[in-house]
């Protein structure tokens, strides 16, 4: 087992302050402490070479977990063992073996080319010249940024910068890489390139832990999904199992020649009534079989077009987030 997290807790101390002027003045002298339980005993294990999606709504505790796992924060309680290290105790030895990409915190230097930042990382990790050049050339070729790494970072697009962030994180050949919203704000082409890169690195045995709000990242990359909410783990299994939580539901778009009757049968939930001839609905096939539904609609209104889709992962995640 490469990562073992046991009963991880984190409590932040904050101070309550009202918004009125009087309360602001009062807070200069007396402040009421508030204890925020960001993590309430999270446990999970991750094997070498896994690619795990770490999901949760804002404030759920996923960034706090990631920061503890990367040695940035001290936890309030619990045990963590990653490659035999306790991140906050063996920080220096441990972080030499991990990489991190924070979508909203750049490791590049704004006014100078990415290659200068790469050289700074070379010195930080004491990477031998030959290994450095070879790794950099491989990454540059894979991400197609050869012409860009010598331009000042400020002249690069967001997608180009993010590709260079990945090179920064991978130059020292880490065994585990933590990704915090790595595709935030990127266009589809840049997202696709970065996803291909992650999959390629994962094939080489690098473990990835990915937090994101972009569920298409999860669908394209993650073999396993951990969902946290209110500081607790609410789901930990494969993407397939996550999908099956909705049972045998399908999303159906139907268009008819004649006006549709009121579809009030059990197992049918109208999600969008576009017109008298067009409707989008959710069909629970455990209650109403698909062929029966098609026959019913065709008989009453004559089907012109019909599309059947899997339910979107967003629906499932939304349900998980709303669970108390």
């Amino acid at each position: 087992m490469q990562i073992s997290v046991e009963n991880l807790t984190k409590v932040y101390k904050s101070y309550q302050r009202g918004n009125a002027f009087g309360e602001a003045v009062k807070s200069l002298f007396v402040r009421k402490p508030v204890y925020i339980h960001a993590l309430k005993g999270i446990s999970f294990n991750i094997e070498r070479g896994e690619l795990v999606g770490f999901l949760g709504p804002n404030g759920a505790g996923k960034s706090t977990t990631l920061k503890i796992l990367t040695g940035i924060l001290y936890p309030s309680g619990g045990k963590v063992s990653i490659m035999g290290f306790t991140p906050w105790k063996d920080r220096k030895k441990y972080v030499a073996k991990i990489g991190a990409v924070f979508g909203q915190k750049s490791q590049l230097l704004w006014d100078i080319p990415p290659v200068d930042a790469f050289y700074l990382n070379k010195a930080i990790y004491s990477i031998p010249e030959q290994v450095f050049k070879q790794t950099m050339d491989e990454m540059v070729e894979l991400l197609e940024v050869g012409a860009l790494i010598r331009k000042p970072t400020r002249q690069l697009s967001l997608g180009e910068r993010m590709k260079c962030e990945f090179i920064m994180a991978m130059l020292h050949q880490p065994e585990i890489v933590f990704l915090d919203e790595p595709t935030i704000g990127l266009d589809v082409i840049a997202k696709d390139k970065i996803r291909q890169f992650i999959l390629e690195m994962n094939k080489n045995g690098v473990t990835f832990i990915l937090t994101t709000h972009d569920l298409s990242d999860i669908e394209h990359l993650a073999q396993r999904v951990i969902v946290v909410n209110h500081g607790e783990r609410v789901f930990d299994n494969s993407l397939r199992t996550l999908r099956s939580r909705l049972g045998e539901k399908k999303i159906i778009s139907v268009s008819t020649l004649n006006p549709l009757p009121a579809l009030t049968l059990p197992g049918i939930t109208i999600t969008k009534q576009i017109s008298a001839h067009n409707v989008e609905l959710e069909l629970d096939m455990a209650v109403c079989e698909l062929n029966k539904f098609i026959a019913l609609v065709n008989k009453s209104s004559t089907i012109r077009d019909l599309a059947v889709q899997e339910p979107q992962i967003e629906t499932i995640i939304k349900e998980l987030y709303q669970e108390e």
Binding site: Y12, K62, K93, D111, A117
Partner: protein
């Protein structure tokens, strides 16, 4: 050790490359810095030109104290004092995290990424003033030079201690810039002969918060008239360094990071 030195030099090269991206602004900033720093020596010159003086001290002796004071800051500010602003800015925008994920001491990483080329203006100003004043005072002997070098090193250590305390405060007391204003006002006590202050202030700036060691004490040693309480000031500076290191470590443990 060599790897760390290479990293530090790479940090300086990177910071210079960053600053050179705006060459005109860099040169102007350095010149302005130099002019601002020469303000106090200029006032000293005016005081003596108008017949007033610091009792028992000639103009060039006072300028030597101010030269040493400027030189100490001219070494500290570009090469390591930048950890104060580096830490404050990084804690505020959350990029302090990026220092913690590097396999080096966080303090060292804060220094490596904090080289402040603009403050080289202080360094060049300090060398100029020190050299100018030194030519007009009786030449010091080898013994004075050796003692001066040792005490000057302690002055740099004291400034490092202050940098640690201010940077540590920046971790938990985000955005409280008045503390830094107070610091910059207080350290100015170090660029005058202590005789101009009351006994109580002399004791405080020599033995309690060793500010006098940043200018007055090393300069007085070089002039062959060592200040009373020099040994105490050296001991206080070393104790101050250990206290500051402890404070920095404590504050680093209390780091809560910015929201994700």
């Amino acid at each position: 050790m060599m790897a760390n030195l290479r990293l530090y030099l790479q940090g300086i090269k990177t910071a210079l490359a960053t600053r050179m991206a705006y060459r005109g602004d860099f040169i102007m900033s350095m010149l302005i810095m130099l002019l601002v720093e020469l303000g106090a020596p200029f006032i000293t010159f005016l005081i003596y030109e108008n017949g007033a003086s610091f009792p028992g001290w000639t103009m060039y002796e006072v300028l030597l104290i101010q030269g040493v004071f400027l030189l100490a800051r001219g070494i500290a500010f570009p090469f390591y004092f930048g950890i104060v602003w580096n830490t404050i800015n990084r804690v505020r925008d959350g990029t302090f995290d990026l220092l913690l994920i590097k396999p080096k001491s966080t303090l060292f990483m804060a220094i490596v990424t904090a080289f402040d080329a603009e403050d080289l203006g202080k360094f060049f100003g300090g060398i100029m003033l020190f050299g100018l004043a030194l030519k007009r005072v009786p030449p010091p002997g080898l013994g004075e030079w050796l003692q001066f070098s040792a005490i000057f090193l302690v002055a740099l250590v004291t400034l490092f201690g202050f940098a640690l305390i201010l940077a540590g405060l920046g971790i938990i007391w985000i955005g409280n810039f008045r503390v830094y204003d107070i610091f910059f006002t207080i350290i100015n006590f170090g660029m005058y002969p202590t005789v101009i202050f009351s006994k109580a202030v002399q004791t405080i700036i020599t033995m309690l918060i060793p500010i006098a060691i940043m200018g007055y004490i090393p300069a007085a040693t070089l002039l062959g008239r060592p200040a009373a309480g020099t040994c105490w000031a050296v001991l206080a500076s070393i104790a101050f360094l250990f206290m500051s290191l402890g404070f920095w470590r404590l504050m680093q443990k209390k780091y809560t990071s910015a929201g994700g």
